[in-house]
């Protein structure tokens, strides 16, 4: 027993010295080398990877389905674009708060996930808008809230760093936002809806497409969308500022898909035919 113990201690110490002296750089370095290897083989093999960053908690644009696969309208579009260009699609779920860091550090090639153009025009290189989307309030049906004016003094929830938040903070809506009791920022919509259900928030501000999905998949008649919209806006694919080459390639493929009807077919599959707005006129 004692010998075994001593042996274990020796092993622990050796490990200690190795880790201590190495200070982790070998590990980090090997990670760099590995990464380089991957990209090299990717280039040599001729199969380019196209990494799409998306919020995996944003149905129906990007989420996890019953089989544990990441699916959604945007991911279906991305898959089709990749198939046509001979690229390999990498679906990378990202933390929405750190999306800019992910994009500029090159961990992802684009943000394609119900990504609102309005208000961010100068921050990314955008594709043409492909979904017309509005920001709305969702309230409990029995709360007696009929318009945004009724939200005065109430608690309103919104996703952190989302376009709904940007819309609420914009100049046109500043007056209305000021009347709220408080504006709570949530990490994801599921939590916000749980709070809405529990009554600790009175309204959730979000994209209409997501709002419809949430309302449909929850108990019928429990939640309603207010008639007065916070703002109307459009979705596009966001690329790193200045990355026009990749943008053009993706965009042209999208136009191809529009012409042969694939785009409309995918939109129909996801029940989004009413909101898509990709138009060849903007070519």
């Amino acid at each position: 027993m004692k010998k075994l113990f001593a042996l274990l201690l020796c092993a622990a110490m050796t490990a200690a010295m190795l880790t201590g002296c190495g200070e982790k750089t070998p590990e980090a370095q090997s990670a760099v080398e590995e990464k380089e290897d991957v990209s090299e083989t990717a280039q040599e093999g001729g199969k380019k990877t196209f990494t799409v960053g998306f919020d995996a908690e944003f149905p129906p644009y990007g989420y996890m389905d019953d089989n544990g696969e990441y699916v959604g309208f945007d991911l279906s579009l991305a898959q089709e674009v990749c198939d046509r260009n001979g690229w390999e699609l990498v679906k990378q779920p990202i933390n929405w708060d750190t999306k800019d860091m992910e994009l500029s550090s090159g961990a992802i090639d684009c943000i394609w996930n119900g990504f609102t153009i309005n208000g961010r025009e100068e921050e990314y290189t955008w594709s043409v808008p492909y979904v017309d989307n509005s920001q709305v309030f969702v309230v409990a049906a029995d709360a007696g809230i009929a318009s945004s004016a009724d939200l005065a003094g109430k608690v309103v929830a919104v996703q952190a760093d989302s376009s709904a938040l940007a819309a609420l903070n914009s100049e046109e809506n500043a007056e209305m936002t000021a009347t709220f009791g408080s504006l709570n920022q949530f990490a994801d919509y599921n939590t916000a809806f749980m709070d809405l259900e529990a009554g600790s928030v009175d309204a959730v501000a979000m994209d209409i497409g997501v709002a419809n999905y949430q309302i449909e998949s929850r108990e019928a008649g429990k939640f309603v969308i207010l008639d007065d919209y916070i703002s109307t806006e459009q979705y596009g694919v966001g690329f790193f500022l200045g990355n026009k080459e990749l943008r053009d390639q993706v965009q042209n493929t999208l136009f191809e898909m529009l012409e042969d009807g694939t785009f409309a077919k995918i939109a129909e599959e996801w029940g989004l035919s009413d909101v898509v707005c990709l138009s060849a006129d903007e070519k």
């Binding site: 113990f5 001593a6 201690l9 622990a12 110490m13 490990a15 200690a16 010295m17 880790t19 201590g20 982790k24 590990e27 980090a28 990670a31 760099v32 590995e34 990464k35 991957v38 990209s39 990494t51 995996a56 908690e57 944003f58 149905p59 989420y63 996890m64 389905d65 019953d66 089989n67 544990g68 990498v90 990378q92 779920p93 990202i94 933390n95 708060d97 750190t98 860091m101 500029s104 550090s105 090159g106 961990a107 992802i108 994801d188 919509y189 599921n190 809806f193 749980m194 949430q214 998949s217 929850r218």
Partner: protein, 216 residues
Amino acid sequence: MDSLTMLKQLGEGMIVTGEIFFLTLLFALPLGLVIAFGRMAKNPILRTVSKIYISIMRGTPLMLQLIVVYFAPYYVFGIKMGSGYRMVAVILGFVLNYAAYFAEIYRAGIQAIPAGQHEAAQVLGYSKGQTFFKIILPQVIKRILPPVTNEVITLVKDTSLAFVLTVAEMFTLAKQVAAAQTTVIPLMVAGLFYYIFNLLVAFVMEAIEKKLAYYR
């Protein structure tokens, strides 16, 4: 979605959570001992550096440290690490953070051994290395087991912080499943999983404690 598919989805996350847990312990426990030596060193530079290191690691949120470890290569050195670096960054962040806590636990244990034992060992002709490994460390390990158990249990729950780098560990997946199915059940399942994992940890640590209590 039936509960079986949900469990299958969460199961993949459990494996990743286990991976983070075991790799962190594997590297942080020995690294902690090294830092503890630095903290107790006679050399003032070594001592101060260790002290500052511990102070920073304990004084800033682990979530922030993970973000820094992951994004620093690009923002500080301009190196694009790519997505494969995610998991490495998580392990690195956890190891660096937990080693600081373990270092202080080791120090407490080592300094709790009466000076008389060092003197007695010296009289008996033990070298410094022998004294430490044959006399001091075995006693230290026995004494620090309860606080180490505390840290290990905290680590099990802290693995959920890997979600900031969207490593698909248990909690990240539970949140994604919850969002897609618009239900809270996956979160409850996740909670149950952490609890059972920690019961197991507590059980194992208690067994080790009993095994080492050979003088009682």
